[in-house]
């Protein structure tokens, strides 16, 4: 709902309330006794007050906690991407240590060929593939997937991002992005009466989103022949 529309609606409702006062009651209308009114309003207030302790008794563990500090993870994510762009490649150890970078899968594949080619399916355009040669020939490929910081407003949901599906068959490593993910959040704003004295911005939070990048870190046997094909710019060999 656009803001203008909601304000218009609010105004109309205001007018409606005025008219509720103004309407003449029909003759047969028998107004409620004051005793009933006092009872009803008392009950209403009583129920509302009772709700306060109930609210505080509700377990809050299911909720999404907001990040205490989102700037640092975002900064280190941006920094990492920058480094990649500038051909400064991190090691796997570096990635594990970085703030805001999250490893969301770790797989090992048996190699059935002496060559490795790649099949990056559509939808994986912002996946960066890094290849590191191991010190030995163990015939296995270790694939770790990393995701950089993903924020909407204050919410860090990096960990909720699904890893791509990876398979190795006939010397071909296929990378398939997960199905389109949808995240829904519900947030509450404090009443404007509280916000005025809380140093909180009561207007709707400016939801700055920061989208994640994926890093696929592949460790291959020392002597494996790697065929990057046309994807040279997206697959880097360290």
């Amino acid at each position: 709902m656009s803001r203008v529309l909601s304000q218009l609606l609010l105004f109309l409702i205001g007018i409606a309330i005025v008219f509720m006062f103004k309407f003449k009651r029909p003759k047969f209308y028998r107004p409620l006794s004051w005793k009933l009114s006092v009872l009803a309003t008392g009950l209403y207030l009583g129920v509302l007050i009772m709700l306060v302790p109930i609210l505080y008794m509700l377990p809050a563990k299911d909720f999404i906690k907001t990040a205490e500090d989102k700037d640092q993870p975002i900064a280190s994510s941006l920094n990492l991407m920058n480094n990649l762009y500038n051909q400064h490649f991190p090691t796997e150890g570096d990635l594990d240590k970085l703030k805001g970078i999250y490893k969301n899968s770790d797989q090992t594949f048996k190699l059935d060929s002496s060559k490795l080619s790649f099949n990056l399916q559509p939808g994986t355009e912002n996946y960066h593939v890094l290849i590191e040669r191991k010190d030995l020939d163990d015939g296995e490929i270790d694939v770790s997937t990393y995701v950089t910081a993903q924020y909407v407003g204050e919410v860090n949901f990096t960990k909720r991002i699904l890893p791509p599906t990876i398979s190795v068959e006939n010397g071909m490593l296929s990378l398939r992005a997960p199905d389109r993910q949808t995240f829904e959040f519900k947030q509450l704003n404090v009443d404007f009466t509280m916000a005025q004295f809380n140093n909180q911005n009561s207007s709707i939070h400016e939801m700055s989103s920061h989208f994640a990048n994926h890093i696929i870190f592949i460790r291959v046997p020392q002597s494996l022949e790697i065929n990057r094909g046309v994807l040279g710019d997206r697959i880097q060999i360290i």
């Binding site: 409702i13 309330i17 009114s37 509450l188 404090v190 004295f197």
Partner: protein
């Protein structure tokens, strides 16, 4: 028999206040109704934002109980105007009364309405949270402002009450002015619109005088002093006129 035993203005005003609380009790139903309607509107969220890239989309629904408070403000505004109307004034006639006791009891009623309205409208925010807690997927709820600090709740209640006092004063004065002369029915909106258009800055600074005050004690002081002035002027203005039946 002839000696005129002095009657106490305050005790008469107090009796009238109790009488009016009972008499106008139906007004509180209107508030209840307004708050519940506002709550239903609030359950739809006040804004929706979504963003996304090729692989994911994110939508955020924002909720707030502010609308309940806004509705309560409307309510107190019109309740205050109502109290000055002939229809409502008439119930004073069978009682022991004069203009001042009538005004004092009205103000007493309005203050009670403000306290009640302030409490309930802020507490409906609690109700909203509880409804959301049980009807929405909790894993989608951002905990941040969902968990309402008790001190914030008290703060909200007191600020709402203060605003309502201010608004009730403005409504009451408007009502009294229209009693002094029906011309004010046209003059008041004209002046408000006129000032807001022609002297936008003055108008805005008037509003900001209250809404941008971030110190609670100062805010309270501003509201209380302004309200006393407004009600004082109302009493003075209505003290001269005849209450016709």
């Amino acid at each position: 028999m002839m000696s005129l035993k002095e009657v106490d203005l305050l005790s008469i005003s107090l009796k009238q206040y109790v009488y009016k609380l009972k008499a106008y009790s139906a007004l509180f139903y209107v508030l209840l109704l307004a708050q519940i309607i506002a709550l239903f509107f609030s359950l739809n969220g006040i804004s929706h934002m979504s963003s996304g890239n090729g692989e994911l989309s994110v939508s955020v629904n924002t909720y707030s109980a502010s609308l309940v408070i806004v509705f309560s403000f409307f309510w107190i505004l019109f309740a205050a105007i109502q109290l000055t109307t002939k229809q409502y004034k008439k119930i004073e006639n069978p009682l022991v009364t004069n203009s001042i006791s009538g005004n004092l009891s009205n103000i007493g009623f309005l203050m009670t309405a403000c306290v009640f309205g302030g409490f309930t409208s802020s507490l409906v925010g609690v109700l909203l949270r509880i409804i959301m807690y049980f009807t929405f997927d909790r894993s989608q709820i951002i905990s941040d402002e969902f968990i309402l600090a008790f001190s914030d709740l008290l703060l909200g209640i007191s600020v709402t009450i203060l605003y309502m006092v201010l608004i009730s004063g403005m409504g009451y004065l408007t009502g009294v002015l229209t009693k002094v002369s029906m011309a004010f029915v046209i003059i008041i909106p004209a002046v408000i619109i006129g000032i807001s258009k022609a002297y936008t800055e003055i108008f805005q600074s008037l509003i900001k005088f209250f809404t941008l005050e971030s110190s609670l004690p100062l805010f309270a002081l501003k509201v209380i002093i302004t309200s006393i002035l407004i009600f004082g002027v109302s009493i003075l203005l209505s003290n001269r006129g005849e209450v016709s039946q």
